[in-house]
Every structure is written in C-alpha cells, then in structure tokens.
C-alpha cells in the first residue's frame, strides 16, 4: 500500500471563537515516523490545534489529511479510532485494573463475553514489555508511579496501532530519571511506525528528542523545520517571540515603600524553596510556562494547599486557611474562572459580596438595599458590561465574568491580590480594561501578585518579575527598557 510520506497534512486550518481567531490559517506537514515537536507560547494556538486533532472541538475552516484522507473527527473516541491517541496530563488509565487489562481495554477478544487470553492480548503485553520490561503486566495500575502510568498509556496507544501519538507536556510531572526513560521510549516509537507529536516548552527536550519542530505564534504558523536546521535555543526563541511589541510598561515611581509580604523557603510537593518580598503598591509578576508552579505558589500563599516555610503578611505569619487569609487581607482570583472563581448559576449580585458578607449584613441579616448598591458600585467601578446586578453570571462574557471575580475580591477589602492567569481566554478589549483596573489598584496602594504564562501581560504590568521553572525561581528582573525577552524565554524554558 502506497502511503504518503506525510502522515498528517494540515491545510489552512482555522478556528474561530466568537471574537477571536485562535488558529489562523495554519498549514504544515508532519512526516511519518518522526518526533515532531510543537512549540509556542501560551495563547499561540497550540492547545486549540491539539483539541482539533483530538476531536475535542471542531474546526471552523481548512482541512486535515490523515494519510492522505480527509480527517474530521466528531469526538475523541473517533479520533482514537482513526489512529490518533493522546497522552494528556490527566492520565486516562483505570487505576483499579491491572496493566494488562488497561492495555486491552476496549479491544478485548471475547467468546460469548468471556475474556480470552489470546495472541492479541499477548502481543499487547509484549509491546509493553518491549517498551519497559520492568513493569509487571499483572500489577494494579494504582501501584504505579505517574511516569509508569504514562508508559502504560503509550504502550496502549502503540498496541492499538495508533499512527500518531500526541504527547502534551508529558514531562511536567515526572522526575529527571523518569524523563530519560520516557525519552528512550519515545525515540524507539519511530521504529514502531508511530509518529509522535510532542508539545513542550522545555526547549532542551525539543533539541534532544525532536526530528522536526513547528513554531506557532498568535494563532499563526511561523515555521516548520527539521531540527537539524535550527541552530540553537535562541533561534527557536526568536521564532516564538517574533518582533512582538509589548504594550508599554509605565514605570511607576519606586520609592521605598514598606514590605508587606515576605515569603521564605516556601516548599511543597511542587515548589522548591521559593523566597521573595513584595512591597506596598507593587505589581510583582511570576512568569513561567505550563508546570512551572505558578498556581501552586498562589494557592500555597493563599492557604488553599499545604506548604512548608514562612509566609509573613504585614509582619505577621499568614494563617493557612483561605477564610483566615481573606480576613487578613489577601484575596485570590483563581485560575479557572468558571469552576473555581464564580458561582455561575447565581447572579452578579449573588457573586460580588461573597467574600465579605459582613459588609452588607447586620446581625447576620443581609441588607438587600446595601447589597444592590454595593453591586452596582462594583459594576460601575469595574465597568462590568451587564444589564444589571440581576444578570446571571453564566450569561456574561469571559471578560466580564473575570471582572465579577475581581469585584468579589475587591469587596473583601483585600490589600494584596493574587491573580492566577487573570486574562486567560479573554478578548483583547477586556484584557486592556482589566490591566487598567490592576494598575489603578496598585496606585491605590494595593499590592498585586500576577501569576501568568503570557509574556506580554507580565511585561506590560509588572514592576518586578520572577521567572519560574519547575517549581523554583530561576531568575528575577526589574521591568523596564532593558528587558531581554529572549533571555526571559531562555530561563523559563529550562535554560541555565
């Protein structure tokens, strides 16, 4: 059978969400039996592209050819059936079954419903053995480590004769030794007729593992090259960043304001000995890509997750529970707006006062007039576009929903705000508005910590920037004209 050299051909792929074109006329080829890497900043369109490939969302335009044939899966299941498997960070193994049972899940040989241990199953186990002989197929998956579970998923995809295996940031949660083992396996996949699409921001890995690389930026395709033709990290970074002009950062008078937050040696499962200080009125940024530990750091400070180390707020050790942290004057805008930040089935009025009900109540009774007034005030102050306090939060646009979350935090009279990906998934107009809000808050004397994976955002907002990689601060810089975004990218992608 004559199979084309390119296992995947993407032609003019477009994906629109209402006001944003997330994928903009992307075209490139993936050669068969290679490790093809996909890099780009957050917001470059990588994840949307992957979602289209895995059948999670549909495309708005363009075509995809799989082995020369039209490919337009309507569901993840169909994508898998067509031969494209994906290794996500949320592992898709059934802990309660054995390795062998997981390998054959959905593809068993049966007689009248009885599972038969046929050659087919033996072959699947054989695949597993050849990839990683130390895993006993009779083991329950629950006893395996994350890295081992990944290998089981890979083996399953290979055994299912998947032609393409998409690996999405697989090294974020595993140790160095396990990474080496994973890479050995990935390299051998080429001999097994599997093409790997490898997404990572850890550029060293790209160079070690990849045969070819595709760079995306702002939803567009920048370049696809064999890695042999890419000189070094710097060149990749240049392609990733382009000549982006970052929205002007307005330097604010430094002054020696007092230190409000001191973090010393903060550590937990993800974080490693994080230490820093924040002064009143400062906007401090934490920039890092996926898996860097941004959310973990925000949550640890907030008391939502346990940690070791010291956190002092206004000289006093911060309690380790969100309700007490809020009382102390710190509020968190969580990463996931809909599932963590908002009460979507409630109205704007129902959402805004939540973190400080005492302000609108007396003796436990809510004063409705006060509540409405306060909500209207918040709507006005943050310019939330809605028909009024009685609008259901679910019906607001993303940007306005995020403003409601902001309003919620501000209502708690917070003196320090933790913002986790504050403008993720929000259109450009709303982004600017939120930046304006953040700057205004800083001027009013509030201290802001921004945790973000969007470089332009960090560079346009923050006075000082800590660079995070693998749970530790790898670099710190003062914002200003002298910032070298190449250097920044170098650090957060694992460079030394």
């Amino acid at each position: 059978m004559d199979r084309p050299d390119n296992v995947l051909e993407i032609r003019g792929l477009v994906k629109d969400y209402a006001s944003v074109r997330a994928v903009n006329e992307v075209s490139f080829d993936v050669r068969r039996n290679t490790v093809h890497c996909l890099v780009g900043e957050n917001g470059a369109g990588k994840s949307t592209l992957i979602k289209i490939l895995t059948g999670a969302v549909g495309r708005s335009g363009g075509r995809i050819l799989l082995n020369g044939r039209e490919y337009a899966p309507r569901s993840p299941r169909e994508a898998r059936q067509r031969g494209i498997s994906t290794l996500f960070q949320e592992l898709n193994v059934v802990d309660q079954l054995t390795v062998a049972e997981n390998l054959s899940l959905g593809r068993e040989d049966t007689t009248l419903g009885f599972l038969r241990r046929t050659d087919k199953v033996q072959r699947m186990v054989g695949v597993m053995n050849s990839l990683e002989p130390s895993i006993d197929p009779r083991q329950r998956v629950s006893t395996l480590s994350v890295a081992q579970k990944q290998i089981v998923e890979i083996a399953k995809a290979v055994a299912a004769e998947s032609e393409i295996l998409i690996m999405d940031e697989p090294t974020a949660a595993i140790s160095e030794g396990e990474i080496a083992r994973l890479f050995a396996i990935v390299k051998r996949l080429r001999e097994r007729n599997v093409t790997v699409i490898y997404i990572s921001h850890r550029l060293d890995e790209i160079f070690e593992l990849g045969d070819a690389v595709t760079v995306m930026r702002d939803g567009r395709h920048v370049a696809t090259r064999p890695l042999a033709e890419v000189k070094d990290r710097a060149e990749l970074i240049r392609m990733m960043l382009g000549k982006a002009v970052f929205e002007g950062y307005q330097a604010r008078p430094a002054g020696s304001r007092e230190v409000v937050l001191q973090v010393k040696g903060l550590s937990n499962r993800k974080l490693q000995d994080v230490s820093f200080e924040v002064r009143r009125g400062e906007i401090v940024g934490f920039y890092g890509l996926v898996g860097a530990g941004k959310t973990e750091l925000a949550r640890a400070i907030y008391g939502a997750d346990p940690h070791r180390g010291e956190v002092l707020f206004q000289g006093v050790p911060l309690p380790r529970r969100p309700d007490q942290v809020i009382e102390a004057g710190i509020a968190l805008v969580p990463e996931e707006r809909r599932s963590q930040g908002l009460f979507t089935i409630l109205t704007v009025r129902g959402n805004v006062p939540v973190m400080n009900m005492a302000r609108i109540s007396r003796h436990g009774f809510i004063r409705a007039g006060e509540e409405r007034r306060a909500t209207r005030e918040a709507i006005r102050r943050l310019r939330i576009a809605c028909s009024g306090p009685e609008k259901e939060a679910a019906k607001l646009s993303g940007g306005n929903q995020q403003k409601v979350v902001f309003a919620k935090c501000l209502f708690a009279d917070a003196q320090l705000l933790l913002l986790d990906e504050p403008t993720r998934g929000i259109d450009v107009g709303a982004k600017s508005e939120i930046y304006a809000i953040i700057r205004r808050l800083a001027e009013e004397g509030k201290s802001i910590l921004v945790f973000s994976s969007e470089l332009p955002e960090i560079l346009s907002l923050c006075d000082r920037i800590h660079l995070l990689y693998d749970g530790a601060i790898k670099g710190t810089l003062e914002n200003g004209a002298g910032v070298d975004s190449q250097e920044v990218m170098h650090v957060v992608t694992g460079g030394r």
Binding site: Y17, T48, E327, S339, A385, K395, S397, G429
Partner: protein, 345 residues
C-alpha cells in the same frame, strides 16, 4: 494544563422576563401545576373545593413540611437526609420514656425516668440533634456518601426507638402536660398549634434562606463548593450545621406528634423521610445543587396533599399512595427539566 477556549465576546441576552430568577420561575411553574391539579381534582372529586377541605389540604402534611425544611437545605447543598423519619420516632419515644412515672410497675413499658416534662423534651431534642451529629461526622469528616450514612442512622434511630418501646409504644403513666401541645387548637378554628409552628418555621426558614448570610452560604455551597471554599466559606462546618438543624427539626416534629397521640410510638413516621424528599423534589429543588427554595417545597407539599386527597376522595385505597408519589415525582422532575430547558434556550 487546562487552557480554556477563548470565550465568546457576545453576551447572550435572555428574554425580557429574565428579571425573574430561574428559581422563582420554577416556583411559579409548580404553583401553576398545583392550581391545575387542584382544578382537575375539583372537577372529579365531590366536595373537593369546600373550605374545610382546602384547609385540610394546606395543613395535613404539616409534619412532612417541617422535616422538609431540613431536607431542602441539605438537598440544595447536594446531600440527602434519610434519617428524619427514624429520628422523629426516636424523639417521641425518648420524650415519652423520660417523663413516664418512675414508679415500679409490672409492665416495663409503663416505667420511665420520671423526669419533668421540660427536661424530657430537652433530652429528646438533644437525642435528635445527636443523630444529626452522627450524620455530620460520617458525611463531613469521613466523606461517606450521605445516602448511605443517613440510611444507617435511620435504622439506628428507629432501632433505638424500638428498643426503648420493645417494639411497641409507651403510652401509659404520662403526665397530663404531655398531650397538651399536640392537641391544642387555635381558639374557634380546627387549626392545630402544630400547624402554626409549621407555618412559623417555614416563614423563618424562608427568611433565613433569602435574607441571611447563613442561608446564602447554603446556596453558595450548593452552587459551587470549590468556589465557596476558595471564597473563604467553611463548607464542612456549614453542612455539619445543616445536619444538626435537620436533626433538631425532626426532634420538634417528634415532640409534636408524640404529644398529639399521647404516646411514644416506635413505628411513627415510617416513610416520612421519603415523603419529605418527594415534596422537596416536587418543589423544584435540584440535586445538582444551589437551586430550590423552602417555599417551593411548601408548594410541593400541597401538590402532594392534593394528589393524595384526591385519590382518597376518588375512593382509591391508601395503597395507591406509593404509586402516586412515584409517578408524581417522576413527572415533576421531567417537567421542571423541560421547563427550564425551554426557558434558557
């Protein structure tokens, strides 16, 4: 790893009548259903529309309604409480036993602790709250599914009632005052004090639900427990308190019922927990959380009352109750879902 899709910039504007919250909509919807059912019943059942009968419709499920308050709040947070029936029986039995005369008697069921009535009532209510505490411990602390725990405490409390009454009841050598509160009527009306208590509790519960911080917390937790936690609410503590409240309400009901029948009966309140759940569901409370109201539950209770009374009026045997309850609940769930889907496009 989550990378959310870029949200739509356009805002979906609901219908002009979007001023009415979904919750109020459902309550009105169920009121409409109630009126419809009432109308049908009047057409087919003789004397259904007589004032006396209408009064009965509004009041004869008073005990289920009191229980329904606790069940409603808990269901809003996504939890069940099936222990209320057993708890009612237990409270009644403990109250009776506690104030039965302590004098020795050949009949062991006639001998009690000889405590004053007030103390007996307090003791019984403590037991009721204690059942709630057991629920809270297993559900909040050990994170055991509420359906299983409360079925267990249902058996425990009813079982304890059976032990204290040896499977029967305690109705002898009780002080006069025992039968007072359950048998007092509003002067000149056939309305019992218990009904008034029910009305008062419903009113208070409604106020708490709509106008107090504590009531608001219940809805926040039900709407999104994770967001509630990150917003500083003490979710576990609040749910625990709701279980204590539910226990207390069951206790009050137990006191009232045992007073009305001047006996602590171990078989009392059999099936009440299911009825309380039924009226809560009829009233539009959704288990997916954060939605529903005590007033809705009250409407649900009247719907149930109309249906069962109509059945009796049509000379259907009481055995029809179960089928009717099942069918009515099922239809209500579907109808509410349908109505909400249509409304929200």
């Amino acid at each position: 790893m989550d990378t959310a899709a870029v949200d739509q910039g356009s805002v979906q504007v609901g219908p002009a009548a979007g001023r009415l919250s979904n919750e109020s909509f459902i309550t009105f919807f169920m009121i409409a259903v109630l009126i419809g059912l009432f109308g049908m019943a009047c057409a087919f059942v003789p004397n259904f529309f007589l004032p006396r009968n209408v009064l009965n419709l509004l009041t004869n499920y008073w005990y289920i309604i009191i229980l329904g308050i606790g069940v409603t709040f808990l269901l809003v947070t996504g939890n069940f409480d099936m222990s209320v029936g057993g708890n009612v029986a237990l409270t009644g039995v403990v109250a009776a036993w506690a104030c039965q005369a302590a004098a020795a008697s050949p009949n062991p069921l006639a001998v009690g602790l000889g405590l004053p009535y007030g103390v007996a009532v307090a003791l019984a209510l403590c037991c009721a709250v204690g059942v709630g505490a057991v629920n809270a411990f297993f559900i909040v602390r050990l994170r055991v599914p509420s359906i299983i725990v409360t079925l267990g405490t249902m058996m425990l409390s009813r079982g304890l009632a059976q032990v204290i009454t040896r499977g029967a009841q305690r109705n002898t050598s009780l002080p006069e005052v025992f039968g007072v509160i359950g048998n007092t009527f509003l002067p000149g009306t056939p309305v019992k004090v218990a009904v008034l208590i029910m009305v008062a509790l419903v009113a208070v519960a409604s106020v708490v639900e709509k106008a107090t911080v504590s009531g608001r917390r219940t809805y926040l937790i039900g709407a999104n427990a994770e967001a509630a936690r990150l917003s500083g609410l003490k979710v576990g503590q609040h749910v625990a308190r709701l279980y204590l409240l539910s226990g207390l309400l069951a206790g009050i009901t137990g006191i009232l019922l045992s007073s009305e029948f001047k006996a602590g009966v171990s078989g009392r309140a059999s099936g009440y927990e299911f009825d309380a759940l039924v009226i809560t569901l009829l009233g539009g409370v959704s288990i997916s959380g954060g939605f529903g109201s005590v007033l809705g539950m009250f409407v649900g209770a009247i719907i149930l009352s109309v249906v069962t009374s109509a059945a009796t009026g049509l000379l259907l045997s009481p055995d029809w109750q179960f089928t009717l309850k099942g069918v009515v609940t099922f239809l209500a769930i579907l109808a509410q879902r349908f109505a909400l889907d249509r409304r929200n496009g």
